[in-house]
Amino acid sequence: MIAPLLIGMAIVVGVIGLHGARDATVIGYQTIVQHSQDPAEVARAARYHSVVEQVREKVPDGATVFVPQTPDLTDTVTVEWEQRLPEIALMEGHDVVSDAAEADYWLRVVQHGAGATLVVEKKH
């Protein structure tokens, strides 16, 4: 009697544990087959890609860059770019410094709707 009960409970627990994998499958299916995903995330990915391209175009190879930071944590757009810009700059082979005086360039992003423009200020 106890064995069928334990087997049944194992199946129930296992099936409960499947909910995340099921949801991920649905999301993956919608993305691939129906070409539908959150437009906000698609726009965000496009902005990241655009800024990567702008860093490649506007910042010379091997430059030392500085990313000013805002103390205003409620300004989530600026905070996000303050985290993305070091990532993108390092990824593109630039050195990101914490001392503004050591930087060749200061970087910031102005986001406007679905677009984003990289602002590069030369400091030396």
């Binding site: 194992a10 409960i16 499947l18 994998a21 991920a24 993956g28 990241y48 930071q69 985290q83 993108i88």
Partner: protein, 476 residues
Amino acid sequence: MGPLLGAALASVVIVAAGLPAGYLVARRLPLALLFAPLATALAATVAVILMITCGGPFVGWLLAVLVAQYGLVFLLLRHRPRAPLPHAGWVDCLCYAVPLVPPFTALRLAPTQWDAHSIWWTHAAYFTSSGAIARAQLGNPWMYFSHTDYPPLLSAAVAVAWRVSGPNFWTAQAASAVVTFAGIALLAYAVRTVTAIGPPVLSRLAGVLVALSAWGFAVVAPAGGLADPLWASTFVAGCVMLLVGPTPGGLTLPLLLLTVSALTKNEGFIAVAELAVLTTLRDRRDLHRAWRLWLPVAAGFLWSRLARHYGATSDLVAGGHFAEFLHGDPAVWHRLRPIGDSMATLLGLITGLSAVSAALGTAFLRRQRAALGLGADLWLWLAYGLFFVTLTITYLTSPNDIAWHLATSADRVTVPLTLLVVASSAIWGVTAYAACVGTDGAGGGTTPAEVIMPAASLKLTTAAAAPMKFAPGGKP
């Protein structure tokens, strides 16, 4: 090269580069293919540590580590022959891997996960360059948001991918997913290994059910570049193999999986250290085995010291309210209620059901489980309890607003707890089946008993082969 082609090429290289080491561990190609991404990630981690310590470019150290690794693999394959790991054939490995493919199709989502960018890919960005730049970023106070003290394994794998096909977020997401896929598939393997007492179909099903629980409430985490599913699945695989066993292939694979866990995230390091304490207690009469269980902890500790040495930190370490916690500050303990509510929502139902299953199993099938060669389920629950307490203390002492902190992380960091309770239930299910059919076989004359209970029938066969020795009164 287009982003998708680049991601595909990088994924192939991550598998191919680790294949020799994977074969050394598994001694069979199918399981070697599943383990290979983890082997590449471990090699890249060693390269990152050497680069930070000694300086120089990442690519140089990566090539040096891979060449050394291949030399070692060649020598060990030649001079240390051993049997392949069990349950490592094509049918088994396809059973571990194929069910994971549908949820991993979320890999096609735009690569925008906040923590993937701010932590794992930012670290990968400075790992791809040189020791000097990596050291500077570890100690850069303006990289505070990036948790620079976090272990390097997943980022090191992304750095390899970027060196293969150029920096691109799609490539980063694909590389992270390939390594995570391997970790989750090996969790299925671990459960399959310890439930081999049951019929293969049931044992494989148990492995797949546990592995698919790795998505938990963090639906996009495994394919989205986050590290939690990787450390959680490799940690629970290690727990299952070391605490429940038996481990017919020896300690190499579980120790490597735990090393992956400890080098993937700080929580993984702490959980692996707790597991080492548990396994040492469990194996206290076999210190020759027990000391080796501390090797993954040593690897995590080495990274922790190295990162601290170069000034790495994170918000929890730098601003945690640990002293207030110890002094019983009401401002800290006031956070307990929302933490409890969140844990109950995420874990309550599944933990409750699994606890009932464990209690019933322990009450009625404990001896049968021991006779089948499995360790007590209590050890898995102790691992659960220790990590649950760790998580609770982490949230209590966190400098962040508790509502924000829970909302942004609780679904991810509770994944190992979900995996532990599903593993407990799945193992009890197979144990119950084995015990049930074994009893029926003895009483009702059905035949499957010897098929599904190799461990038990082996003992009986051994006893039956020397009947005189065990006869009353000794040899006639």
